[in-house]
């Protein structure tokens, strides 16, 4: 199953999002939260993110979802650090909450990496309040 890594500056956001996803997509066991710094402070840590990617990967690959600014930069760095390892990994250009839920549901029904990524990225265009 395609794994998910949740990156936020806030450990609480990443953990909370993991909790939420566990309710909606309970059968998905490959979701790893990589929020905040090691000491719990606000920030992002490329090394922790790359470890989370390794942990989330069961062979089918991993989609990373990140929040603001340096969340994206740290995630890109983390992916680069894993270049020599045989892990398929993609960073989603998606709103993190909606994207994570869509990706988790898609992964749970057995979609491949590209399809899970697309499920996440398709959330970019979804209106919350219909016209």
């Amino acid at each position: 199953m395609v794994g998910l890594v949740l990156v936020s500056h806030s450990a609480k956001i990443a953990e909370g999002l993991k909790d939420l996803t566990s309710e909606i997509a309970a059968a998905h066991k490959g979701i790893v939260a990589a929020g905040g710094m090691e000491d719990g402070s606000i920030g992002t840590d490329a090394i922790r993110i790359s470890e989370a990617i390794r942990q989330a990967n069961d062979g089918d690959g991993v989609v990373v979802l990140a929040d603001l600014g340096s969340g994206v930069m740290s995630s890109e760095t983390a992916i680069e650090l894993l270049e020599d390892e045989n892990i398929k990994v993609k960073l989603a250009d998606a709103p993190i909450v909606e994207g994570t839920i869509a990706a988790a549901v898609s992964a749970m029904v057995g979609s491949d990496l590209e399809a899970v990524l697309k499920a996440a990225e398709d959330c970019r265009g979804v209106r919350k309040i219909p016209e």
């Binding site: 992002t44 840590d45 760095t77």
Partner: protein, 206 residues
């Protein structure tokens, strides 16, 4: 040389830590008021985690980059972390500092920062200090100047770069939300970068 490289990093760390409040105040004006705090935390960890006895300059710089990635927290973590790690590749296996390698390391750092931040010159970032400084360093080196003299000229260019960042609006990072209102303020990243170059110059002067 290895101990010297560690000692130089330590001098950079001390400079950053000494200027923690200054950098944070600059960032408070146009960013999220964490540049000094984040950089100081990162370089404190560098002093503690990097092996002072490692003879390989590349190893020392790589360890520095990895440490910054995991301890800085904000955007300067992946930016400076990548810069040091790219510079490390140029110095891999080397135990002496040659001018050409230093030039190569500056260029590699620029490429790394650009790859990570998708920034160009003129966007009110650390590149506005680093790119002109590297150009001047390369010119002086080509004219036969010593590393210290070339760095002296590079530091002048970096400071001019800081002045330039006061005249332009930010288009990257948090400061970009301020748009035109960011004009008049100097960029914190360009400032920490210039402090770094000045410290290396002062260190090499001895």
């Amino acid at each position: 040389m290895s101990t010297k490289v560690y000692d130089c990093l330590k001098a950079i760390a001390e400079k950053i830590i000494d200027n923690k409040d200054f950098l944070t105040d600059l960032d408070r004006e146009i960013g999220d008021a964490d540049h000094g705090v984040n950089m100081a935390r990162g370089f404190q960890a560098v002093i503690e985690k990097v092996d002072p006895e490692d003879p390989d300059i590349g190893n020392v710089l790589k360890k520095t980059g990895m440490t910054l990635l995991s301890t800085v927290g904000g955007a300067s973590g992946p930016l400076y972390g990548t810069a040091y790690m790219e510079a490390a590749k140029v110095f891999a296996g080397k135990t002496e500092l040659a001018g050409e390698d230093f030039k190569g390391a500056l260029e590699a750092a620029i490429a790394g920062i650009q790859k990570r931040g998708h920034a160009e010159k003129g966007e009110k970032t650390m590149l506005d200090a680093l790119m002109p400084a590297t150009d001047v360093f390369s010119e002086k080196l080509a004219e036969g100047a010593s590393v210290v003299d070339a760095l002296d000229a590079a530091c002048i260019a970096a400071n001019e770069g800081i002045e330039f960042t006061k005249t332009i609006a930010a288009t990257k990072g948090r400061a970009s939300y301020l748009g035109e209102r960011s004009i008049g303020h100097q960029d914190p990243g360009a400032t920490s970068l210039t402090l770094t170059l000045e410290t290396i110059r002062d260190f090499l002067k001895g």
